[in-house]
Subunit: 184 residues, 2 copies
Amino acid sequence: MLKAWLHEDRELIADMGVFQLYRVRARSPRTGQYRRLSVLHAGSWVNVVALTPDRQVLLIRQFRHGTGEFTLEIPGGMVDPDEMPAQAAMRELLEETGYAGDPPVSIGVVTPNPAILNNRCHTFLIENCRWSREPELDSGEDIEVMTRPLQDVPGIIAAGDINHALVISAFWWLSQKHPGLLHP
Amino acid sequence: MLKAWLHEDRELIADMGVFQLYRVRARSPRTGQYRRLSVLHAGSWVNVVALTPDRQVLLIRQFRHGTGEFTLEIPGGMVDPDEMPAQAAMRELLEETGYAGDPPVSIGVVTPNPAILNNRCHTFLIENCRWSREPELDSGEDIEVMTRPLQDVPGIIAAGDINHALVISAFWWLSQKHPGLLHP
């Protein structure tokens, strides 16, 4: 039977705003030995499968600084401290794409990386999305918004054009909860 | 048409061994303004959908220090500097579970988080896995190995017992490349 490790102490190494890096001193329940581990603290994240009335999915193209590459993703971002995840999903969708739709429906929650990150990412489905107003991008964002037929998504992922694990996980949830949507 | 940002300078904030944290100075191609961004550099990762001859999937249960929780995952880890990803997949499977099988077949590649991480995670399918020897765990690892019928995986994810985005992405690849395996 596995036992939980004890985190006896943690030291803030760097506060980067979007996350805080800690070094944790942990004691093994099996050997009693100590180990130093690296843990990133971040707030919750959300992403959104946003569908138009004719079953197109909203995708955004942007430059991502981790990989230094352009990515194709679904809308999403960080949950603000005073927000519920569903509110953040509506806000990020509107800010990044200018679209709004039905009330968000939670379709799944993942841990982005339980080995090094403490947070969760909540995936919402928002149907009947329609263009509502101009996107509100901050000076650091360049985003291109596009729609694609939902049933093209498996092929887009197979081609490597969508490769973000959190986006692929979102489509896993969609395929499980609403199999008819992705493979009509 | 979107243009790439220029990373003009980067400063090492912390070298944690498993990853290095950098602060990057980047210039917007649209506005010319500078922004400071946080980027984590890490080597490639692998994970493995390992199947026994009777279509059971190998799962491991372990304590994860990011979330401070026990997780149910597939085997995986970091690719060593002198390794190919396929070699790392075989090595991690053997070290963590004691199982070995057919040559690994690549079924997909994801970016774990292109916003903040520079690396990729390679997913392999290894079939006909059989117990070969005792696992080789280091003093910091406590791992419980188990097998589950592959067709139970969607239910295990739906119940929240598997919630790691990289593991769910691995099963996305499996469901797309070998639909008959997951839903017989």
